[in-house]
């Protein structure tokens, strides 16, 4: 698989503070690559360097082998993007915006089906200033896709969308990917990342904290398996803390919640059996991407 987006040791500072501090990642053709990270982690800065809107202070960025700053015009023909924050003239209608942006590209998508899929078909005559937040978001997704790009960068794809629109948008993005388009996606929604992304980079404080498949991230994080139960008799603390691979223990209202690995599960079962304790309402669940994310980006205790 050829690499479509290549970011090597990217650096960007504002006012002497490194906002992006050595980010490297490679996005392969036809994959959906996710970027997760806390607010202010440098996600937008990173993807805007990929779009050529910001010039890196250091490192290298290539999109289909081209430099997005030096070869901006060539890159703009193959890359479509939705910005985290943007507006259109308030008196421009949805139809006019779609027509205008379609006219910029040599081989644009058909406007009608795109508007239909994004639920904009009934809003074509509405002016931008009169659209709701979610409708604006849908219009910007349409504008990102209208040029029939090879690469799409979506910064907070479904922020502001209602649950149905969010699912419809996911399907749309999957269809886009199935046509061979490469997608770089910044998101705060774990469900979205888990469903859409082939691989995910977690960015924290301007650095890549982890880069893996969604399943890999969960497996790698401490506490990938969560065990909870209400014991029929008290369980001693030292017995619990001695469990192998234990990541955390929590007691609440007589209920014990442990996180760890499969090893931990086995050891808990043995422990309870040895003390003849019955575990009421025993639940063993795999941790979610949410848990993995929180684990990867937790503040180091000072």
């Amino acid at each position: 698989m050829p690499t479509v987006i290549e970011v090597t040791d990217l650096r960007k500072s504002y006012g002497g503070r490194a906002v992006v501090d050595g980010v490297s990642l490679a996005v392969e053709e036809g994959e959906i690559f996710g970027i997760l990270g806390p607010n202010g982690a440098g996600k937008t800065t990173t993807v805007e360097c990929v779009e050529g809107l910001r010039a890196p202070d250091g490192g290298r960025v290539r999109v289909t082998g081209l430099d997005p700053v030096a070869d901006h015009e060539k890159v703009s023909r193959v890359l479509g993007a939705q910005l985290q924050q943007s507006e259109l003239p308030p008196k421009l209608t949805v139809r006019e915006a779609l027509e205008l942006y379609a006219s910029f590209y040599p081989d644009p998508l058909d406007r009608a089906p795109l508007a239909e899929r994004l639920g904009l078909a009934g809003k074509l005559a509405t002016r931008f200033g009169k659209l709701s937040g979610g409708q604006r978001q849908r219009l910007f997704i349409a504008l990102a896709l209208i040029g029939n790009p090879r690469v799409v960068v979506l910064d907070e794809l479904t922020t502001g969308l209602d649950p149905r629109a969010r699912r419809d948008t996911w399907e749309l993005i999957e269809d886009v990917r199935d046509r061979g388009v490469t997608v770089l996606l910044v998101t705060h929604f774990m469900e979205e990342a888990q469903r859409l992304c082939d691989r995910i980079a977690v960015i924290d404080k301007g650095r890549v904290a982890a880069l893996d498949t969604p399943a890999g991230l969960i497996r790698r994080s401490a506490g990938a398996t969560v065990i909870s139960f209400t014991p029929s008799a008290p369980v001693a603390d030292h017995d619990l803390t001695a469990l192998p691979d234990l990541a955390s223990v929590e007691r609440k209202d007589g209920r014990i919640t442990l996180s760890g690995t499969d090893e931990t599960v086995n050891a808990v079962i043995t422990l309870l059996a040895r003390h003849r304790i019955t575990a009421h309402q025993l639940r063993v669940v795999d941790a979610t991407l949410d848990d993995a994310f929180l684990d990867l980006t937790k503040e180091e205790a000072a």
């Binding site: 779009e51 050529g52 809107l53 901006h72 015009e73 703009s76 023909r77 890359l79 479509g80 993007a81 910005l83 924050q85 943007s86 507006e87 259109l88 003239p89 008196k91 421009l92 006019e96 027509e99 205008l100 942006y101 006219s103 910029f104 590209y105 504008l143 040029g147």
Partner: protein, 244 residues
Amino acid sequence: MNTAVLRTEFRLFCREPGAVFWVFLFPTLLLVILGSIPSFREADTSLGGLRPVDAYVPVAVLIALIMAGVQTLPQALTGHRERGVLRRMRLTPVRPSALLSAQMVVQGTVALGSALLALLVGRLAFGVPLPRQPGGYLLALLLAAAAALALGSVVSALSRTTKIAGAIGSAVFFPMMFCAGVWIPVREMPHAMARVVQSTPFGAAARALDQAAAGHWPGWEQLGVLAAWTILLTAGAARWFRWE
């Protein structure tokens, strides 16, 4: 020049009733109001035998340029920048400068249309003769339009928000109107004041239009002042203008 961008900017201009009124209708309306005052239709010796309404046609023409240049152009450009429209455009194969030039063409065209309207209404309603030196008049008009648009771009370049653009625009507006001769025709100003006023773009334009209206080729001095301002302001705008 991107025609789709041009068409869009023209549409957007037409959807601003304020812009349409002040640039396209107001100058002629002012001419009609002043021309309806009987004393404005009597020859005045201090104007070299012209009637005040004759002298006000070039003023109306310049008001159209000033309105477009320092009011509506900076508002539109700064608004586009403030909303991130210029930035969004940088993601497309069309450069944001296409938006800048489209705005210039739209504002320039509407202002020149407004000038034409003032000339026609002056001619039909008040018998003001059309310029006797049409070539010179057109040249002075185009140079004045270029200077006005360049001034507007500088205002927009220096304004981070539409509010600031509005404030700078208003601050520049009244001196420009004065120079164009709205209150005292340039030819009637005391000598020292006239010299200063004629070194400003609209003072020079007012004088050049007067000359061409009377059948003379506009003075090279006035045309030179207009050209110099246009070059200077364009250079300033190019230097200071930011896309985001």
